[in-house]
């Protein structure tokens, strides 16, 4: 199971509290995890990445194991600690305000 932390507004939209867990069949890549999240929670389609191009929305960030993976391509394998469920993938809204 892959653990994923969603930002507050997307947890509300998906109707979940706390972390979510998704299963990924093949290699645990960024794209595969996002596919799994959207399959489990269709209301999130289009909110993390564009419906058609699948590009990350500009104000969304992906963090894992203290690394910023936001600019990595979707085929990037996530760290082993995420793949084995020790650490979550963090999907966060980019910081705004001051």
């Amino acid at each position: 199971m892959i653990r994923v932390e969603l930002p507050y507004h997307l947890r509300h939209l998906a109707g979940v509290e706390g972390e979510v867990q998704v299963e990924v069949g093949g290699p645990v890549t960024l794209g595969a995890v996002l596919d799994a999240i959207e399959a489990c929670y269709p209301a999130l389609r289009g909110t993390i990445r564009d419906h058609t191009t699948l590009k990350r929305r500009p104000f969304v960030r992906f963090f894992a194991c203290k690394e910023d993976l936001s600019l990595e391509p979707p085929e990037t394998k996530l760290p082993e600690a995420v793949a084995n469920g020790e650490e979550p993938l963090l999907i966060v809204g980019a910081m705004a305000g001051g």
């Binding site: 507004h9 939209l13 209301a43 969304v60 809204g93």
Partner: protein, 388 residues
């Protein structure tokens, strides 16, 4: 017993205000979708419990919400657990998928160069007059979409952007289809208004469109003041009994047409300023029109700090200020284009919301106003349902 239900979209959520037919005591419910921008909420005339809301965010994009119980509960169409289990073949999770049809093309950018169309958000949702599952969506960058399955999927009418779309240009607030009027006497006739492109009409249900801007003059906004497209139309409104008569609040100027937009005539008359955003028509008097004059395009607040609705009982030109119950000093709010509405009770109720978070109501056609609620986030839109 008749009731009024006011649907308020704000910068930080949606609110639903309800009252009986006297419209003196109000209940405030919300915020729904707390923290999100709610550009518009509107109920279906065919099934008043069916509401649609446009929920947007700079972070997470566009969401369409639907309620089937008058706003108590909401769902994103095509994503509910029941729908996911159903054998229906529609795509899942596409209630927020707005993709321009065919070649995307370009429009004029702020600096005059061409710029590709990019979907940003839904400004306005206009449910069909007869079918609760059919809704038109006016979007930024300017285009019109339609759903016929309750918001599960949307398709563009690309014919609108073919009406000289390459000459349309965003105003300060963006470039959006912000007004959609459905002709109650002719199912094939639709009017839309776009900032800053002008007014357009379709007579074939949305397939083809023509600009209807003859008579508009934009001396300070356009090199050619009489251009066919490019005018910054802020709002249009009609009375259902006489849909060929349409009123317009333009960037500057208040106008009317008596022939479905073939020719417009200025009716600003004695208004203290003819700049403003909303315009509305009385529910029972087709020649009674309401506007909220704003000082100028550079100073978006009421002249002299006095919040005044102006009413004409003669279809324009002769306007009277309505001030009773409205702040007459130190008031520097704005009233946005989609933030005024009328109910169809008798006497007609008039409502508007401000960027200061007040929603004002008049239960007697504008003679006396009172705030239903004072401290909401900035109000983007106000709609009202008359429930019988």
């Amino acid at each position: 017993m008749s009731k009024a239900r006011v649907l308020v979209g704000t910068k930080k959520g949606a609110f639903i205000l309800t009252s009986d037919g006297k419209r003196k005591e109000w209940k405030v419910a919300g915020p729904h979708f707390a923290g999100w921008e709610i550009y518009h909420i509107k109920g279906s005339p065919a099934e008043p419990k069916r509401l649609y809301a446009s929920q947007t965010s700079g972070w997470f994009g566009q969401i369409i919400q639907r309620s089937d119980d008058g706003g108590k509960t909401w769902n994103t169409p095509g994503s509910s657990p029941e729908e996911l289990k159903s054998p229906e073949g529609f795509p899942k999770g596409e209630g927020n998928k707005f993709v321009y049809a065919g070649e995307v093309g370009t429009h004029k950018w702020y600096d005059g160069t061409q710029h590709p169309w990019e979907f940003k958000r839904v400004w306005h949702l206009e449910p069909s007059l007869s079918d609760p599952d059919t809704v038109y969506a006016g979007v930024e960058d300017a285009a019109i979409f339609k759903t016929t399955n309750g918001g599960k999927t949307w398709e563009e009418f690309p014919g609108l952007r073919q009406a000289k779309g390459h000459l349309w240009q965003p105003g300060a607030g963006g470039m959006a289809v912000h007004t959609i009027l459905l002709d109650p006497k002719n199912v094939n006739r639709i009017y839309v208004a776009i900032s800053a492109a002008g007014a357009f009409r379709s007579d074939d249900g949305g397939k083809t469109w023509k600009p209807i801007n003859r008579g508009l003059k934009s001396k300070y906004e356009l090199a050619d003041p009489d251009a066919e497209v490019g005018h910054c139309v802020h709002r249009i409104a009609l009375h259902p009994s006489r849909p060929e008569v349409v009123y317009m609040q333009k960037h500057w100027d208040v106008l009317r047409t008596d022939n479905a937009g073939e020719q417009w005539t200025e009716v600003s008359g004695n208004l203290p300023t003819d700049f403003g955003f909303p315009i509305e028509v009385h529910a029972h008097e087709p020649e009674t029109v309401f506007v909220v004059p704003i000082k100028s395009d550079s100073e978006h607040y009421p002249p002299e700090g006095k919040l005044r609705v102006y009413r004409s009982r003669s279809g324009g030109n002769d306007w009277e200020p309505l001030t009773r119950g409205l702040p007459q000093k130190d008031c520097y709010v704005n009233v946005l284009r989609d933030a005024m509405a009328v109910d169809s009770l008798d006497p007609c109720g008039v409502y508007f919301g401000t960027t200061g978070g007040q929603v004002y109501a008049s239960a007697n056609g504008g003679n006396l106003w009172h705030p239903i609620v004072r401290d909401l986030p900035a109000v983007y839109s106000v709609e009202v349902q008359t429930l019988r």
